[in-house]
């Protein structure tokens, strides 16, 4: 009977219910998509770093692990010192530039010869490796997303580049240019953002890491194989703060809308509450009925939100094919729990207020 009562009440005011469902759905979608977007970007970046084939990555002391946004260059000569260490076979510097004009992308300035040594080279779909100072390579995803063809001119950083090769995706970045040209364009002559190191044998990696740490104290030195596990939002404080802020925003939306919705519901149903009291309904029963209604509303919003997340992801991927949005069962569950807890908090005050209503006043309410 209580189920029927709650269900019928929920659909007695369809517009109110719809607004509540949409608010919860937006909340859930926001959490799932924001987390999915950041996790997807991190995972996709980590995969591409791992895909290079290097054994070790060295960064500047203040650099973030999320290298695509890193802006901490080191003197390029450090590479020579690393190269002199025992068990080091190849060292390749890379200069990374984060670009937001005309899209969000990281431009990889590489030294073609040493990068080829470290990574065993690119797999070319078309064209050839970097040769001229204005040459550019793009991976197949980027080419598809930006409708770039071999021989096209690609303008980035107010500079016209010539696309000389389209390579298989999954190695480092999506756009590659000569390191010297990029250094000149952004005023980073003789600087490198990272050094990619290849050992003579993979099992020498720990020894080489130890040596580099001794040579360059305070410089983050990481085995590339562990990069995937390290690339989480918790290792990137600013990103974690961003995610937390977005979750807080999402929860606030849900909480406030549910609060308002249930508050007006209680006002609208003042007389009904009086009737329930006249029938002998306890305070607990009235609270339970309103919280059950909120939970049902929330469940509808959660299911809608999950569906909406996939729709939003599909839309994003259509607009920005190089994006990666990772929707996981774990975060769907967490988003659902966040929505339910937020909604119940939002509904608890109106429910408590309803339970305390004076029966006589409630019955004479117009």
């Amino acid at each position: 009977m209580m189920g029927q009562f709650v269900f019928r009440n929920l659909f007695h005011r369809p517009l109110r219910t719809l607004i509540g469902v949409v608010a919860i759905a937006v909340e859930v979608t926001l959490v799932i998509v924001v987390v999915g977007l950041t996790s997807g970007m991190l995972q996709e970046t980590a995969k591409r770093i791992e895909g290079i084939g290097a054994d070790i990555m060295v960064q500047a002391p203040s650099a973030q692990i999320f290298i695509v946004m890193s802006g901490s260059p080191m003197p390029i000569k450090i590479g020579e010192k690393i190269h002199d260490l025992k068990y080091v076979q190849y060292v390749s510097p890379a200069f990374l530039q984060f670009n937001t004009s005309g899209g969000v992308e990281t431009i990889w300035g590489i030294d073609p010869a040493s990068f080829r040594d470290v990574s065993n080279g690119f797999v070319f779909h078309e064209g050839h490796d970097l040769q001229g100072r204005d040459d550019m390579l793009v991976d197949d995803w980027q080419a598809r997303a930006k409708h770039v063809k071999l021989g096209d001119t690609y303008t980035l950083l107010n500079h016209d580049w010539k696309v000389v090769g389209i390579v298989e995706h999954g190695k480092a970045g999506r756009i590659f240019v000569p390191i010297t040209t990029l250094q000149e364009l952004v005023g980073g002559r003789d600087k490198a953002t990272i050094f990619l190191v290849r050992c003579t044998r993979p099992e020498h990696t720990p020894d080489v890491i130890g040596e580099i740490k001794e040579l360059l104290p305070n410089y983050p030195v990481r085995p590339v194989k562990e990069f995937m596990t390290l690339m989480t939002s918790t290792n990137i404080p600013a990103l974690q703060t961003f995610i937390n802020s977005m979750i807080a925003l999402a929860v606030s939306i849900g909480l406030l809308v549910i609060f308002l919705s249930m508050y007006t519901t209680v006002l609208e149903r003042t007389r009904d509450i009086g009737v329930l009291k006249s029938l002998g309904a306890s305070k607990f029963l009235i609270i339970r009925a309103l919280l059950a209604e909120t939970t049902l509303l929330c469940l509808l919003g959660i299911f809608t939100g999950i569906g909406l997340s996939y729709v939003v992801r599909a839309g994003f991927l259509k607009l920005f094919p190089t994006l990666s949005i990772l929707i996981t069962a774990g975060w769907i569950l967490r988003a659902a729990l966040i929505a339910i807890v937020g909604a119940l908090i939002g509904a608890s005050y109106p429910a408590w207020q309803a339970s305390r209503k004076d029966a006589v006043e409630a019955l004479s309410y117009d």
Partner: protein, 248 residues
């Protein structure tokens, strides 16, 4: 003033008559109800004394503002008397907590209101069944069928209040009020929103409930014609009962 009513009954297989004492199901002793308008105390009831016997039907009449509704709410435990005693089936409502009065209401009192007060989201069946749910014994299909048939609600049970006439809504409200076999049925102007024909139907049903099922009823009304359906009429004025108190 304590009142004891004695009646003669014949016990089966016994030629000698025996005396049986009926205790009042409702006893109101020197009850005051004060409302506060700012710092001013406004008395709605000023020492009401009143008793109802089991199986009795009593109509309470009086002008607007004389305290009839306040008396009904105090008797039904919806409002707490400021002073005095309200004994329902031996339980003093004035000494009870809000939760205890709620429980008593659930088990011993049924309400019928002037404005029907049906839950708009529920069907007629749902409105009646929710009272059974709150009562705690769950849905009793037999009792449900008896009550709805008696009130002529067959065929209207799946309709919502907005799809029913005033008379039908009030019959649903009566069904809801008596579905749990309350000790006392309290009716607050039950015909106040009905036309003459529907008023007569509702009053006749209340009379049948009283005569056929022995349901104790206390009804508030403005309508002198309505009182003819009841055993006893009590008049109120300025927060006190001015007549109709049974004699010692």
């Amino acid at each position: 003033m304590a009142i004891t009513v004695t009646i003669r009954t014949n016990s089966t297989g016994n030629a000698e008559p025996e005396l049986k004492t009926l205790e009042p199901i409702l006893k109101v002793e020197n009850v005051w109800k004060l409302y506060h308008a700012g710092k001013v105390e406004v008395p709605a009831l000023r020492g009401v004394n009143f008793e109802v016997l089991p199986g009795e039907s009593v109509a309470v009449m009086g002008p607007s503002g004389c305290g009839k509704s306040s008396l009904l709410y105090v008797i039904g435990g919806l409002a707490k008397a400021s002073r005095g005693k309200v004994l329902v089936d031996g339980n003093d409502l004035v000494a009870m907590s809000d939760a205890e009065r709620t429980k008593l209401r659930r088990h011993k009192i049924g309400f019928v209101f002037q404005r029907f007060n049906l839950l708009p989201a529920l069907s007629a069946k749902g409105n009646i069944a929710i009272a059974q749910y709150i009562h705690g014994d769950g849905f009793d299909p037999h009792r449900f069928e008896v009550v709805t048939k008696m009130l002529g609600l067959d065929g209207r049970l799946e309709h919502r209040p907005s799809e029913m006439s005033g008379g039908e809504q009030q019959r649903v409200a009566i069904a809801r009020a008596i579905i749990n076999e309350p000790k006392i049925l309290l009716a607050d102007e039950p015909t106040g929103n009905l036309d003459t024909k529907n008023s007569e139907i509702v009053l006749e049903m209340l009379r049948r409930l009283n005569k056929d099922l022995g349901q104790t009823i206390v009804m508030i009304t403005h309508n002198p014609e309505a009182t003819t359906y009841f055993d006893r009429v009590v008049h109120m004025r300025d927060g006190v009962i001015v007549d109709g108190v049974p004699a010692d």
